[in-house]
Subunit: 426 residues, 2 copies
Amino acid sequence: MATTTDKDALLAQGKTAQAAAKQLARTSTEMKNQALLNVANGLETEQEPILAGNRKDYDTAKAGGMDDAMLDRLLLTPDRLLGMARDVRAIAELPDPVEEVIERKTLANGLEVERRRVPLGVIGSIYESRPNITVDIAALTLKSGNACLLRGGRESLHSNLALVGLLRRAIGEAGINPDVVQYVDNPDRELVDTMLQMKEYINLLVPRGGAGLINFVAASAAMPVVAGGVGVCHTYVDRTADLEKAARIVFNAKVQRPTVCNALDTVLVHSEVAPGCLPDIARNLSNAGVELHCDHRALSILGPEPGLNTQPATEEDWGKEFLSLTAAIKIVDSLDEALEHIDTYGSGHTEAIITSDADASSRFQRDVDAAAVIVNASSRFTDGGQLGLGAEVGISTQKFHARGPLGLAELTSYKWVIIGDGQVRE
Amino acid sequence: MATTTDKDALLAQGKTAQAAAKQLARTSTEMKNQALLNVANGLETEQEPILAGNRKDYDTAKAGGMDDAMLDRLLLTPDRLLGMARDVRAIAELPDPVEEVIERKTLANGLEVERRRVPLGVIGSIYESRPNITVDIAALTLKSGNACLLRGGRESLHSNLALVGLLRRAIGEAGINPDVVQYVDNPDRELVDTMLQMKEYINLLVPRGGAGLINFVAASAAMPVVAGGVGVCHTYVDRTADLEKAARIVFNAKVQRPTVCNALDTVLVHSEVAPGCLPDIARNLSNAGVELHCDHRALSILGPEPGLNTQPATEEDWGKEFLSLTAAIKIVDSLDEALEHIDTYGSGHTEAIITSDADASSRFQRDVDAAAVIVNASSRFTDGGQLGLGAEVGISTQKFHARGPLGLAELTSYKWVIIGDGQVRE
């Protein structure tokens, strides 16, 4: 792969990716799947160069004072590489979206009309520390017939370079031009600005990381951006909720992986059931180390019980994405009040209700304006892998083009194909 | 409707449209269809105020020196209003896209997962002279659960105000808040700049008009834009073409309505069949008043036959959208040469091939990168009405979100709805 020495080199990478994407759009499913299996094999059997690159990044980051949560996101282990290999194999097993006929009809005048999926072209991504994103995006773009131009975080450069080396080798061994995967190996910030203007070569840009990065990219990019990832996620425990399920779901949504976008931020509890369930919920969360920011009604229900990790909520707690072992708790008097709170403070990512009432469930499904609306399950399920997409390039909280996890189909467009026998318009 | 006195009034219209869109998203199909039928009835039985407004616009435009083609686009007649009524009735008969389930599956863990269509919110449109666009966009956005904020051309202001008056009255009589249709009745150009920045209130902007307007809007708008409409359309007559069909299709594609984006611009003819078909094609087009800009090989085939309206093509003719009775003609030696010419000069709108060869047809379908690829039929079929969409808000030549004619489904997004029974992530 060419080194991104400067702006011109980056532009050349874009042009190279675009040419490779045109070839890839016509490449057979078999060859693409073989490339993915080669990648998976490499992740299983050629781990040492990747782990060595990652150790370099990890040691530098640790010496630089990176906190433990971030260090954990950066870390690759033999087991994590095996997990990445499993994800790549899952993507190989998914149907190829390219050339899929998504609509077919015969018009009254005999014209046969189809809409067929086609790749978008070149997918750009700018992302932060987690090196597995490199493999997720490369695998999904490859399978969907797109090239990719990746720019990962400075702190994971050596990990990413080792992974990109493996990806390109594995792809080339399947007979596909390895230039479908391009990596910006120069961490110079000015090259990010260049990338944001390369609309001639990048058809879609997906930023992944914190709200600052995503907002900056969305505001500055010249090409279409699928923005998202910021998740202010509520779970509403309705008047009719099964309280045992509610406690289990709230605990899972907050504690199972608190640093990700679909983790719970605020629990809304109906006032009729709060006395019966909030003490259990709060005790379990406190025992798991969760700090609870409670409105005054929740505080008065919980009282001064020892061991509860509570404090009064402030206005800033509503609408905050905690990304840590912190949750806000608020008592509401009705479904309407819960809906209004979510409408005001949600980020349009994932909103959940725990209820046994079919009407409340229907209203919540209809009236909540979010990428994912979940009934009686953990918000943690808004995830491409969990929803059968194999993995995800990102999670969109916008309505345009695609919403929720971006899998293979979301990396395609379509063309109309109209087949006639001499038809003309009257 | 509030008058767009100034920037603040326009912002208020956006806010009003947004609130009305939220209500409309929950409005029944029956009520929306009743509103559309009311609109159609009004277009049939209350024509006088609309025709009067249009006469005012027409007289002013004529006195100002507008050319005949533009005057014809501006003109409304009783028959044209009946045609608009028919289109609105057709939209009433189409299925409601809102709440349509576009994917449904049950996961191994028992979660029931659906993707359900939801409206986008507020659709903005900035367009030029044709007043029927006002009704097309209002009808499609209403049926798809979206509000609209319209800004038509200054030259059709009185026509549009009369149509918007009818639309709002008809919608109100169906029990729907008429604020779902908003019109910018102040032709001040500065308000266009304001509109382009109203991303808080406009979810999608569709410019319709010449390339200048579309490019300006696409480059300046803060919200997502579906750009398109510019059509540099080729029809390639292959070595194996049925020459009688070829002549008929080329004639129709150029002459039936030369001022629209899907009209033919360039004919590419395979050199083996050019001597056999080009003279007929050229004679028919010349007789219909078409000016033919021919490459030197076409000129030498056609010779100095009297009555042929030919002249040598220049480099500017390739890739030009003529929008008039002009066509370029070029001889090619292979399908590959035709594909390369189209790749270089096409605008990604509509490309057609006339062929009897299944392999050539397949390659053309696969390799041409355009919104619509047509085999053995007129390029004029790339049209929402013709393709069963009822009408169209515009024709997208981009790959992002939607490609080709924008009908009801293309004015929606979707949400994921996930229904569980206590599932949590492991």
